[in-house]
């Protein structure tokens, strides 16, 4: 497991919102220790008579020992929420919020560059560690099972598909991390690959990339130099035309490096097993793990 586990004590920023409430309930049902909520102006109430709500992260942390934060606040307030958690010393922050302007994300990145906080997202499904019964995100719980495969991805539903395939092959997961679809993600493939490589429970990694940016090339470089564990990769967007944004702000072909083929070539050259047929990603991972035993 990486980043979150059975000792993770989650606070939910914006807990009193509709979407946040729904997912807080799901996280609790999964077994996550949701210990606090933060909604400025609502400090003193209790969320559904179960989770205490505070006006500030600092207060929430002090009173409940929260050490991770799940953020649902609207885009105009999201960077403030992230930095509030960082300044309060929260070490893992998953920001679900989408539609944050790129310049705001850039400011956020500069601010965090001198801090220890790991930001997952924004515009991501979050992070889940099935062996630790810790879900800090919006992914459907039931598809996951504890196991030895690490999953890292820029896409939400594509991850759910991949996890479903893994679980169907009786391959459980250590941790699944959604990096999010924005062009300036808080956490990169390389950040997560490092952690999976160092995590003794993780035996193989499934990496799901897409067109846009050069994140997968950087991942390839890291895999070549530092990964001893097998990596099974899929890159979405081989059929996407240039210059059109495919949903995610980050998924846009703006040069050769951002094309799927370039990424596939880099990953394959680095020793990753790149799957062309996405429907096979579970099966391929199974075969690779079997051949290693």
């Amino acid at each position: 497991m990486i980043l979150v586990n059975e000792d993770t004590r989650v606070l939910v920023q914006g807990i009193t919102g509709r979407e946040a409430s729904f997912h807080t309930r799901k996280c609790l049902e999964y077994g996550t220790k949701v210990v606090a909520g933060v909604t400025p102006g609502k400090g003193s109430i209790s969320w559904e008579k179960e989770v205490p709500v505070f006006n500030s992260v600092a207060e929430a942390k002090k009173e409940t020992g929260a050490n991770a934060s799940l953020i649902f606040v609207p885009a105009p307030f999201a960077v403030d929420a992230i930095l509030e958690s960082a300044d309060a010393g929260i070490k893992v922050v998953a920001c679900i919020t989408e539609f944050i302007p790129a310049l705001d994300e850039l400011k956020c990145h500069y601010y965090l560059s001198n801090q220890e906080t790991r930001l997952i997202g924004p515009n991501c499904p979050g992070i889940i560690s099935p062996p630790g019964k810790c879900k800090m995100g919006i992914m459907p719980s039931y598809i996951h099972r504890p196991g030895n495969v690490g999953v890292v991805s820029r896409s939400g539903t594509l991850t759910y598909e991949a996890v479903t395939q893994l679980t169907e092959q009786s391959l459980g997961q250590t941790t699944c991390v959604g990096l999010g679809g924005d062009p300036l993600p808080g956490t990169s493939f390389v950040d997560i690959l490092k952690l999976f490589q160092a995590d003794p429970e993780t035996k193989a990694v499934v990496l799901i990339g897409e067109i846009g940016g050069t994140y997968e090339q950087e991942a390839a470089d890291f895999i070549q130099k530092h990964m001893t564990k097998p990596v099974v990769a899929y890159i979405a967007g081989s059929s996407a035309p240039s210059g059109k944004r495919m949903g995610h702000a980050g998924a846009i072909i703006s040069g050769n490096a951002s094309k799927a083929l370039n990424k596939i070539t880099s990953l394959a050259a680095a020793g990753a097993t790149v799957v062309e047929n996405f429907g096979q990603i579970g099966l391929v991972t199974k075969k690779i793990l079997s051949s290693r035993i």
Binding site: A102, H109, I138, M139, G237, S239, M246, G250
Partner: protein, 396 residues
């Protein structure tokens, strides 16, 4: 969001970037009058959201106001087809009438966020006038880059380094650094995703002018910039894409004949890839998003079916927050209402799958259900091909 060249120049001009004298005209008569005021040779430039206009007759020289009026008349109301527009082309609703200038040196200047470096970046090249992709391919050594950050801004010395690097004469160094300073202020104040001046020219009479300009804006920041939203021209976009945007779903027309409706951008791309992998051509990218309502899914489906090229449709949904039964109900409703005759393949997984199956089965519509991803893709492609050959048979 994209804007027209004339709008980009007006904006740049407000940020102290010099542009040629000129004015936008929406009628041929206006174009003639503007040319008369400028009282010299003018350039008539078709205002469409596309590059490559010159090669297809969208940029023309007029020696006299009468000629300017004549050219504007020929252009206005017609469609311009460039290598970027697709075969439908884009309607010319306005032309920019500008003084024709004698360029000596043509530079490229671009500003965008380099996502790998997590920093804004200025790109400069002395091989201006062609597209940046072309410069990159043909002469990568001619491309200079400087990163900057948001505290100190675009430091003047970095601007100078670029100016010297593109071999500008000494008297143009300061003006070009001022152009970059203006671009930087525009970029940060208006949340641009791209500010491009191509070419930026030095003229025989010693001026520095932005001869063509392209500005794109960060869609996520538009709510802070009502003045920019005002510049939006939906006539330059695919009507189905515009409608999709209003509905709150992501739709991009691709051109093939297998339509697809998916939840999630990654899965939507993977769906297109699969169609292609098994020998088909995807008609579109369509992501209804994570939290779509039945109404939104129904609207999205109507948009999908409004594309006459679509010969088969594949619904590919992983039910999470969006429940499978909601999608099923939307499908049934639209098919029953529209009497659409294209074959439907549904592949679903996740939340409320059983209920969705029941809804589809009870509908007695001709819907093929397929659990496996690849099989679903194959069926969709086969059905589209079959329908296409039938249509061809009928038409013969």
């Amino acid at each position: 969001m994209k804007i027209h060249e004339y709008q980009a120049k007006e904006l740049l001009s407000r940020y102290d970037v010099p542009v040629p004298r000129g004015s936008v005209a929406k009628t041929a008569r206006e174009a003639g009058e503007t040319a008369d005021q400028i009282s010299q040779r003018v350039v008539i430039k078709a205002q469409v959201h596309s590059g490559g206009r010159g090669k297809v007759g969208g940029i023309r020289i007029a020696e006299t106001p009468a000629e300017a009026e004549q050219i504007a008349r020929e252009l206005l109301g017609t469609k311009l087809v460039t290598h970027q527009t697709g075969p439908e082309g884009l309607t010319i609703n306005a032309v920019l009438v500008e003084e024709a200038v004698q360029a000596e040196k043509e530079l490229y200047l671009g500003m965008l966020i380099n996502t790998s470096a997590y920093a804004p970046m200025v790109i400069a090249s002395e091989a201006g006038g062609m597209e940046i992709e072309e410069i990159t391919t043909r002469n990568p050594a001619k491309i200079l880059r400087q990163h900057f950050e948001l505290v100190a801004g675009l430091l003047p010395y970095k601007a100078r380094t670029l100016a010297y690097g593109v071999n500008l004469p000494t008297e143009n160094i300061r003006p070009v650094t001022q152009v970059m300073a203006g671009m930087y202020r525009l970029f940060t104040e208006k949340d641009c995703s791209l500010v491009e001046i191509n070419p930026l020219v030095t003229t025989t009479d010693g001026r520095l002018l932005a001869l063509d300009a392209k500005i794109n804006f960060d869609d996520n920041a538009l709510s802070h910039h009502q003045d920019i939203v005002q510049l939006h021209d939906s006539s330059q976009e695919d009507p189905l894409e515009v409608e999709a945007g209003n509905t709150g779903v992501n739709y991009v027309k691709i051109g093939g004949n297998v339509g697809c409706l998916v939840n999630g951008a990654g899965l939507a791309m993977a769906t297109m890839d699969m169609i292609k992998m098994v020998g088909g051509e995807p008609a579109n990218f369509l992501d209804v998003g994570g939290g779509a309502s039945e109404e939104q899914v129904a609207q999205a489906l109507k948009i999908l079916l409004a594309d006459p090229n679509v010969k088969a449709a594949w619904i590919n949904v992983f039910g999470g927050i969006l429940r499978c039964d909601v999608v099923a109900r939307a499908v049934v409703r639209v098919l029953e209402e529209s009497k659409a005759s294209v074959p439907f393949i549904v592949r679903m997984n996740g939340t409320n799958l059983q209920e969705a199956m029941r809804v589809l089965e009870e509908s007695e519509l001709n819907i093929t259900f397929e659990a496996d991803l690849v099989s679903a893709a194959e069926k969709a492609v086969a059905m589209a091909k079959l329908r296409l050959s039938k249509a061809n048979d009928t038409s013969q």
